[in-house]
């Protein structure tokens, strides 16, 4: 099905890339800002900083009081937040049409004049909040560190994806107000930012409003560095074991993948879907349904830009089963798939599920704006929303098999095993 979401684009003299996608189906406008800074840009000893910084963006700026970004926009019927990830930081709000200029004005104030409001008290408070976020999401959760350990096992030390976005407690403690100033000056500025507006407005209205509120900001960010070259697959298996108080054994079996927005990444993603992601995947059919040695099998692919992406399979080992045996059977399936490639039915299934999930993601203005910003900022490809499905449907079974052959062989795996502590080990 060809998609035809309108994409209008303009770059302001200060470098701000503005994209407007009119959609009058709801009387709202989504304001979505992507900044080209994430945890991949963090300096040694300052892990977690990009995310801590994002919290400070809600603590006031030159003309906006601390907390006002949330309170004012929510009181106008806005739904808003921000997130930080390896590659980028995004800020977004969906508001009734009559409030979108206020949202833009508030975004421009913090993206241009944050430092007027940053102080030690704000930093200390949000550092505490972020530490609780870390405890809630990672430290106080069974298997909570599994992905963090996976990044460290798959990516080399010193690589930008070796450490997690949430960072470490020690590095969060070390962050200073001076760091906030330096980070803002280096990375924040219209020339390192994409602004997408989706909703009930015309391109002319959107461009004029962007110019009105962001036009006066200087092109203050330092030029972005180029992306790192592609990493090759791991050559020898890596294994990390953690014996913990967890309900059952769980294995993360992880691989390096090609960078995002390439045919090779799409092919590797389809291969992972067929091996472990679908409800009819090979691992689900064999390990969960037929042999019943795993409670669940899943697979995920995370696309990144800095020379590598991540793919991983999660196996929840059934009670009384040996995790090594289950792993060995999973590896047999990986070998078989890399040798033989997908069947016609598997390709049909993976593409059908990918289509539904893509159309579902684009169904909301918010997610559509986010996808547009993502591909404009990281891939210079704002039309991606319209072209992705056609590109995906053109992937051949041979490409899928080739991707598995190159990236998903057992010897290229890193395994993070979380194993149930026996009584003696727990004591």
């Amino acid at each position: 099905m060809p998609l035809d979401y309108p994409i209008h684009e303009k770059t302001l003299p200060n470098g701000l890339r503005v994209i407007v996608s009119p959609d009058a189906s709801v009387p709202n406008v989504t304001v979505n800002v992507w900044v080209n800074v994430g945890s991949r840009h963090e300096a040694p000893g300052r892990t977690g900083f990009a995310h801590l910084f994002e919290h400070l963006m809600f603590q006031g700026s030159r003309n906006v009081a601390s907390g006002e970004h949330f309170t004012r926009l929510m009181a106008e019927g806005g739904r808003l937040n921000a997130t930080t990830w390896f590659d980028r930081t995004n800020y977004f709000e969906t508001v009734p049409k009559g409030a979108y200029e206020l949202a833009l004005w508030m975004e421009a104030d913090r993206h241009g004049h944050l430092l007027d409001a940053v102080n030690q008290e704000n930093l200390d408070n949000q550092r505490d909040v972020v530490k609780e976020e870390k405890r809630q999401r990672y430290d106080n959760v069974p298997y909570g560190h599994a992905l963090i350990e996976t990044y460290a096992a798959v990516f080399p030390p010193e690589h930008p994806y070796h450490h997690p976005t949430i960072g470490s407690m020690e590095d969060l403690d070390a962050a200073s107000v001076e760091d906030v100033h330096a980070f803002f000056r280096r990375f924040y500025g219209p020339n390192n930012t994409v602004l997408t507006l989706v909703g009930d407005l015309t391109p002319e209205e959107g461009f004029a409003a962007a110019e009105r509120y962001f036009g006066e900001l200087p092109a203050s960010a330092e030029p972005a560095r180029g992306n790192l070259p592609q990493l090759a697959p791991i050559t020898e298996p890596v294994r990390v074991e953690r014996v913990e108080d967890v309900p059952n054994d769980r294995l993360h079996v992880a691989f390096r993948l090609p960078v995002d927005n390439t045919e090779e990444f799409f092919a590797a993603h389809l291969a992972l879907d067929i091996i472990g992601g679908l409800a009819t995947s090979r691992l689900v059919q064999r390990l969960v349904r037929r042999e019943q040695v795993a409670n669940a099998a899943q697979a995920h692919a995370m696309g990144f830009v800095d020379g590598v992406s991540l793919g991983f399979i999660v196996l929840d080992i059934a009670d009384g089963q040996d995790p090594d045996t289950v792993e060995a059977r999973a590896l047999e399936e990986l070998e078989r798939f890399a040798n033989d490639g997908p069947t016609a039915v598997e390709m049909e299934s993976a593409l059908a599920q990918a289509e539904r999930s893509w159309l579902h993601a684009l169904a909301s203005q918010e997610e559509r704006a986010d996808v547009i910003s993502q591909h404009a900022l990281l891939h210079d490809d704002p039309q991606f929303v319209n072209t992705y499905l056609d590109r995906l449907m053109a992937i051949t079974p041979e490409q899928v098999q080739a991707a598995a052959d190159q990236w998903l062989r057992p010897h290229s795996r890193a395994v993070v095993a979380h194993l149930v502590a026996t009584e003696e080990e727990a004591a």
Partner: protein, 449 residues
């Protein structure tokens, strides 16, 4: 810097108007045409009280729901899964306090095939023994996972403490290890035969329906389902009974825990409450609905004890709960509980004009966006249908909200929030059990994780 722009208020909004049909077998079909929504959402709901489950087989409704697509009269479990996947269909089923739900999302052009598979899943499941065994094992493993996760563990302890032991509501809707272990295939076959049928069922279809005759498609598939022996289990007319000793603090002990998970609550209304439902979403927002609501203004933005704590009124078919949940740094547990209860009780004293406006405007002005997608529209319509309501309720509730003031909010709030709290803390009990007693909020007891 440019000057701060003024805001132009939005126009009033109403929930989309559905088309209604009755299929030949009595199923009520409700359709919402939402142009541009290419994934169509189908929600099938059947009112069915959890109390219909045999006491010693609790969880059977959940297991029955999960097994609907695991083998039918015409297809094995694997064949059925493949049919769904090749057509891009996502199907899920579950059981709540109010009834059984089967949800399906599908690209528009596959709707006819999807409805036919949905009918087979609902009407012709055969519950193969191997699939029954697997799903029972999976549910038992899931119970252990829930025990390991603090929010789920807190929720389980909360209902066990708040509701009377004799009431079904005091036990997990998906059953316990003991009750799930007691379920056999014949029990599931019997439960499905007795209770799952077209009588009382509502099917909601939402999405871009242009060019589709949904009534005809549904009539040819779901409308053909005949089940003469279906029993209709009536739910109780009264809310679930509160335990006589519900006003107390229970610590679920987890030595070494770096955070404490808090679950604090009391009785709340259902959507048919006298005086109307409209005050309650506003109250929840003002007290605990955002990073700058009353609770987080102190516990997060002033103290830095938490990443965020949220309040919500949770309506059940009859009666409901007012719950506040979140996790706090372990060494702030006692102060957090003290502050949290004081802040929640401050709602009894009144609300500022700006709080009232902010709450009303947030709930009402976000509605067009919250209900912009096919799945959100279908979920709202299906959730209300389980309680015998339509989405006219959503529109009327938003209209009634416009007239709220501080007095109306206080009247609604004090009706439920009477300073009698059930408090559950999942964390390291040895650190603060004694100090929690000194808060004077009821007896403190410690239970193992």
């Amino acid at each position: 810097m440019s000057t701060r722009p003024d805001v132009i208020p939005p126009q009033p909004w109403a929930f989309p108007e559905p088309q209604r049909h009755e299929l030949a077998n009595g199923i009520s079909l409700v359709t919402y045409d939402i142009p541009g929504q290419y994934v169509v959402s189908v929600r099938t709901v059947l009112p069915l009280p959890l109390a219909a489950e045999p006491r010693e087989r609790e969880g059977i409704a959940t297991i029955t729901a999960r097994l609907l697509d695991e083998g039918t009269a015409r297809h094995t479990s694997e064949e059925f899964a493949e049919l769904l996947e090749r057509k891009g269909i996502a199907l899920g089923a579950g059981m709540s306090d109010s009834g059984l739900s089967v949800d399906l999302d599908v690209p528009k052009r596959r709707l006819a095939e999807a409805l036919d598979l949905l009918r087979q899943a609902l009407g012709e499941p055969v519950f193969p023994q191997a699939e029954v065994t697997r799903h029972l094992k999976t549910r038992l493993a899931e119970i252990e996972q829930e025990r390991a996760m603090a929010p789920q563990r807190a929720a389980r302890e909360f209902i066990a403490t708040f509701f009377d032991d004799a009431d079904r509501a005091s036990r997990p809707s998906g059953g316990t290890h003991e009750s799930v272990s007691a379920i056999a295939r014949e029990d599931i076959v019997d439960f499905h035969r007795r209770f799952v049928g077209p009588r009382g069922m509502t099917v909601v279809v939402a999405g871009d329906l242009s060019g589709l005759d949904v009534a005809a498609l549904a009539g040819e598939s779901l409308g053909q389902w005949v089940h003469d022996g279906q029993e209709v289990a009536e739910g109780a007319d009264a809310p679930a009974a509160r335990a006589a000793d519900a006003t107390r603090i229970v610590l679920v002990d987890r030595p070494g825990s770096v955070q404490s998970e808090l679950s604090v609550g009391c009785a709340g209304p259902d959507r048919r409450v006298d005086g109307g439902w409209s005050p309650y979403p506003v109250l929840a927002f003002v007290l605990g609905g955002s990073p700058n609501a009353r609770v987080d203004a102190v516990l997060r933005e002033e103290k830095g004890f938490t990443y965020g704590i949220r309040s919500g009124f949770r309506p059940r078919r009859r009666g409901g709960l007012f719950l506040t949940n979140g996790s706090v740094r372990a060494d702030s547990t006692v102060e957090s509980v003290r502050l949290l209860l004081d802040i929640l009780e401050s709602g009894r004293e009144g609300f500022s004009e700006s709080e009232v406006r902010a709450g009303v405007d947030f709930i009402s002005k976000t509605a067009p966006g919250r209900f912009a997608t096919a799945d959100a529209v279908a979920d709202e319509a299906a959730g209300l249908a389980l309680e015998g309501l339509t989405t006219a309720f959503t529109t009327e509730n938003l209209q009634a909200m416009q007239d709220l003031d501080s007095d109306a909010l206080v009247t609604a709030y004090t009706r439920w929030v009477d300073r009698q709290w059930t408090v559950v803390v999942v964390g390291d009990a040895s650190l603060y059990a004694d100090q929690l007693k000194e808060l004077g909020r009821g007896d403190v007891s410690v239970v193992p994780n």
